[in-house]
């Protein structure tokens, strides 16, 4: 079951930037790339808990602001020599609005 909910407009996120969505289980970072693709990832670096939403977005990757780990926005996997991964969530854009799958976000606790 999916439950797409509207969390805001694409323009609310700067190009090559991110904003967070608060949930009961912590923040989810919503990224917008230079190509206007949107990705949703847990806002927590597996290394030392850095807020990925504050990182520099380049290509379809983000660099953690604390120690420069780089993650693929698509797969959530750490790039290069570092090892680790960040949970990713379905997100899409329809008519300029960003949609997240709330059902999937809620299921996080069970997972």
């Amino acid at each position: 079951m999916t439950n797409w909910i509207d969390i805001g407009a694409l323009e609310d996120i700067p190009t090559r930037g991110a904003r967070v969505v608060k949930t009961a289980l912590g923040c989810v970072a919503i990224f917008r790339t230079g190509e206007d693709e949107v990705y949703a990832l847990e806002d927590r670096c597996p290394h030392k808990g850095g807020p990925l939403s504050e990182g520099i977005v380049h290509g379809a990757s983000v660099t953690c602001p604390l120690h420069n780990w780089v993650f693929s926005l698509d797969t959530g996997l750490a790039q290069g020599a570092d090892e680790g991964s960040v949970p990713t969530y379905p997100a899409r854009v329809e008519q300029g609005r960003i949609l997240l799958d709330a059902a999937r976000l809620e299921r996080r606790s069970a997972a």
Partner: protein, 815 residues
Amino acid sequence: MTKQKLVVIGAGMASGRALEQLFDADPDGWDVTLFNAEPRGNYNRIMLSPVLSGEKEFPEIVTHDDAWYEEHGVTCRFGEKITKIDRDAKTVTGESGAPLAYDKLLVATGSNPFIIPLPGHDLDGVIAYRDLEDTNTMIDAAAIPGSKAVVIGGGLLGLEAAAGLKLRGMDVTVVHLMGHLMERQLDEAAGYLLRKALVDRDINVMCSANSKEIKGEDGKVKALLLEDGTELPCDILVMAVGIRPNTALGQEAGLATGRGIHVDHHMVTSDEDILAVGECVEHNGAVFGLVAPLYDQAKVVAQTLLGEKAHFVPKEVSTKLKVTGCDLFSAGDFADGDDREDIVFRDPARGVYKRLILKENKIIGAVMYGDTADSSWFFGLMKDEEDISEMRETLIFGPAYQGGDPLDPMAAVAALPADAEICGCNGVSKGDIVAAIEGGATDLAAVRATTKASGSCGTCTGLVEQVLGVTLGDAFVIPAAQSICGCTEHSHEDVRRLIKSQELKSQAAVWQELGWKSKDGCHVCRPAVNYYLLADWPIQYQDDPQSRFINERKHANIQKDGTFSVVPRMFGGMTTPDELRAIADAADKYDVPTVHVTGGQRIDLLGVKGEDLPAIWADLNKAGLVSGHAYSKGLRTVKTCVGTNHCRFGTQDSTGLGIKLEQKLWGAWSPHKFKLAVSGCPRNCAEATCKDLGVVCVDSGYQVGVGGAAGMDLRETDLLAQVPTEQEAIDVTVAFYQLYREHAKYLDRPYKWIAKVGLDWVKERVIDDLDNRKALIERFELSQTVYQKDPWAEHAEERAETYQPLADLVPQAAE
């Protein structure tokens, strides 16, 4: 022992090298006077092309500086032409001055560019491409927007000129008489690929084109008219059609000359006390234009002067083009012939073409375009006349494919024999380099210093590094060409220069024009490029917050738990009870867990939540407090002591000066953080002598020191200047800061930058040249009209929303 008198006419690459060899072998035996018609000493003429294109600056290509001449006691008479050689009296006479006696004379008058005597060849704007003056004329012409250039001559020099002018933004047409470019070095196929590469860069190339007349207006060049009636409008016309040995002086003196000044195997002319070297000589019927044989001649000159019996033997030479991105190599004979066979490899998709010309199972010629990695291996086989029949089937794939372990990137270099030539300019073999490495030269700079490998045109730098890698194994990490990051092969210095010279004013322009390999950079290059653009084009470029590290994007320092610290500015370390009350109230209101007094004389509120930032800033703004930029690569603080206001030792109003400096400088961005201090007397209570810039007040004025450090490195400042007035202290400070902002590599503190450019270089621009000081201050003030604003006020008013979550799903989850 009295020194022998050596007079040298001409300070080019050959004579410079001859003097070096001479002094190496016999440091004290010679009293040398060096004349040069150009108003400067020896420089690396073949590197004028990177100067033209903006990839290098002139000082980088100087091979011998004033210190070198002084160290070796060389009397320099630059800018003075020799008008007469009197062989009977053994004297030379310059334009100014009495006849000067010599024991030995070295003629190194080089060559003159050939100017085709077309109608109009003497018009203003018609130039050759030979020296720094020509280069500067081209740079000036290119500075005019929309200007056009025509280059006659599609050989090495002409194409380097064309590519350089194009990089400078000119509209360029190359007119070449022959059917394909560089016909002396390339065959038609490689010429085609080269032409395609140039056309891709928007350079207009016309082959088989015959020039008829140069048209002018008011004595200035206007257009080139071709035989077929085509008219090419131009503001500058560069003739690069060849050089002729400059024999005039030798001829007048009655030396035997032909095409050049005749020399024997020892480089001695028809007069036993006169030697000649370089492009002005003719040896065994041949004249010389490339640098490698010139250096061999220089060595022989030095040995002959020392009384040793040395012989000059001309060697095979190879050619490389110094146009960034056009890789080509050519050596030997590549004309077709019945007794010759070709091995050809093409990869159209990559634009690669390789051709080997064989005769009797030996390589006699090689032409390569697009991939020249194996060129020195082929060149070695050719020079050694090696029989290649055994490896003929795989020969064209290079040394990595000859018997086993393919695909190791180092294999090609490892497979080279010891006598394979690595540096063509200086004739340095792999064996020479390996010997230098084994003798303790374990990095590029040391190898360059001991062997000169990669010291001239620099195209073999990568190969030298590979030899280091092969010889030292894991002990040597090949530097990633010191590029900024994986997105580009350019270094910080190159990118800074190219942003200025090509007038790149957006990140997209930098990525495109400089060939970024990634789509939109990465976390390493984006902050650097963003800074370079805003520093060079403060009005035209729009700062990009998304290319900034979080601290500068949110105007607060991120802490390890994701909270932020807030540091209001206290100008000159001064505060008031009202400000302190506002800070205390804010700390209470926003549950700030930690309040800390910083080393820069202000107060740090640590542990503020990201979403509270706009509100706490608005509260602090109400009390008149603004951002302290404690998070920026920019102006931080000016620390002061209380000076004459209170202290019985104070000599000047150090607090007042500190406040004025901070009011002038705050808000500015720089390559790294910039901290200042002002001490009221030499007791130095404000610790001014370990700051990026520190002022120590004395009775007679202000001592301004720069380049201190008290971080990972500990370093005392060097005195930049002592000035009598407060206003001058402020001016010198602002000018120094702007010079640093304009030139330093991103993330270099001033002390690191000064170590690279030299304090004298800084002094010339900030202290000695008052016009330049003024211009620096004006540029800084222009930048401040954009950047001196309180980001806290701006963000609290206009962007507070962006500090909040985009959405809050907590209520839904709780349902």
